[in-house]
Amino acid sequence: MKKFRQSLEFKPILFFILILLFCGIVSGGSFFKVSIVDGHLYGRLIDIIRNGSKYMILAIGMTMVLATGGTDISVGSVMAISGAMACSIVDERILLFLHGNVPAAVALALLCGVVCGTWNGFLVAKLKVQPIVATMILLTAGRGIAQLIADGKIVTITSEQYYLINGGYFLGLPVPFYIAMAMLVIALIITKGTAFGVAVESIGINANSSRLAGIKVERNLWLIYIFCGLMASLAGILESAGIKGADCNNCGLMIEMDGILAVAIGGTSLSGGRFSIISSVFGALIVQTISTMIYSFGVTPELTKVVKALVVIVICLFQSPEFVGRIRGLFKGQKKGAAA
């Protein structure tokens, strides 16, 4: 138990449960109500895992990038590119020989993510540009590229097969949740089952000494950015399947902030080093729960962001050992005074 309390996963899980309990109590239990409609589960909790899936997927990719001490702020643009790619193919606007084949569209959209990730990896690993600057290039260019793919239009699609990616159900649970969990399992196998996880952590702590210790820093950085791009394109496909179309201007706008936030709430340091993908997934769930909570309580739209910001600030403060120490000090003030 003590080991668990000291692990990175402890606080995010605790916060997640606390927020859920808070929502449940304030809403008088209706927040937890899960009913069965049309043979699948339905309720706020299901909403959270469905809408939270794309944050979870983003957070999985982002965690590894942040663990190396880098950042990828281009994920929102990569989402827009992959969404535009997939939707344009499904709607038979480009690559007509595919005849709107959905699996092919998805595969090509994922390939876009890999290409974007390779580009980021090239800048960061090969040219050693500062990650935030390197990915800013794609952040700026990405939406432009997406619009070039979609020919400057909002592409709307009608393909039941494609809708299934976000709206479908399997054994009562939404499909995106299974996709997110599959990605989580893959990421865990890669990081825990091989030496890759240790290499990532080591690069984040000190890239130079990692190289001297024989870790292929450059190659690993490439792989990490490619993986992050792949996750971003997957999130983009989910998003476009959710809104049944690709909106290059607004798809994933500012989502990189939410992704980084999810990882940070999960307790992974942005300066690199120790990381936990599981806690990032819980971080993503916390971010989504806050949004769902705000909507379901009918907070006026004007206040949405303010409430979100305040919750985030409180969580950040309680993540900080210094702050917690101070609060404890306030309660134990007399004791300490006596000891001194």
């Binding site: 950042t71 702020i73 800048l123 040219l127 050693k128 540009v129 500062q130 935030i132 600057v133 390197a134 800013m136 290039i137 794609l138 952040l139 700026t140 260019a141 939406r143 432009g144 590229i145 619009q147 070039l148 400057g152 290059c248 500012m254 902030m257 980084i260 936030l261 940070a264 340091s269 942005l270 300066s271 739209p301 004007e302 206040l303 949405t304 962001k305 303010v306 409430v307 979100k308 910001a309 305040l310 985030v312 600030i313 950040c316 403060l317 993540q319 900080s320 050992p321 210094e322 702050f323």
Partner: protein, 328 residues
Amino acid sequence: MKKKGIKINNVSLLIAVILFIGMFIYGSLAFDRFGSLATIFNLFNGSAYLIVVSVGMTFVLLTGGIDISVASTVAFTSVLSAYLLRAGWPAIAVIPLMLLMGFVVGYLIGYCVHVFRIQPFIISLAFQFLLRGMCAVVSRESIPITNAFYKAASLNRIKITIGGSTAGLYYYVFVALLILFAAWFVLRFTRFGRAVYAVGSNELSAQYMGLEVKKIKISVYAINGVCAAVGGIIFSINTLAGYSLQNMGLELDAISSAVIGGTLLTGGVGTVIGTLFGVLIQGLIKTIVTYQNLNSWWTRVTIAALLCFFIVIQRIVAIRAERQKMAA
């Protein structure tokens, strides 16, 4: 032999200046009426607020921190001041209040960063959400500014004639340049400025040297907050309106300006003069793209391509300089 050992940050600044001049010459050759004093002055008029915001950002980047709340601070300043001015407040009360607001926001971020050890990116992100949200609380619609002082500052220009051609600079450009000069002076010649570089190079050794790291780090965030508020005031004078969604992504413009000008995000290296050229280069890119009459999505791709070009050149030169250093 000593002359050969050029400093990396000087090289970046030099590249920025050369590229700025090169782009200007290209524009002058390619387009009619481009190569005039008016183009340069309009560059200053249009990016005065960005200069102020980027100067503030440079301070934070020099200590190795980052503050992505500035865009929201600018938006909040312009919305709140438009709201207060519409409610009948005099400009002389609104402006100090805005500066105070910027100071408080910056101070709080700095305090959380240093004392509570929260990562600067995250806490300033939270403040970004907070201020953007506060904008919407004040007003979701665009509020026009009709205050006499703001209008006077917005419409009057100082005409300057150089070599037969005349062009106008707005008053607020001089405010921006004054702030730039003050920042340059402080960073270069004062004890505080040296301490900022020292903290950015190595916080621990700065502490052991007896520098008051806490005071310095909180100060840079407070300076940045005040600069963002000044930027917001200039912006609201410029547009004569306050709107809650304006300036999305300005923080990245500010950061990339500093980076193009040779500031390292890891801290300790950079100058505000470089930042000035970073701002001007970005402004010039936008001007050229406008002259080219390109689609809006091509604009983005072009800006990104040029940004990429800069960064790659900077890196190549820096890598060569490092190699030379190693060889020496």
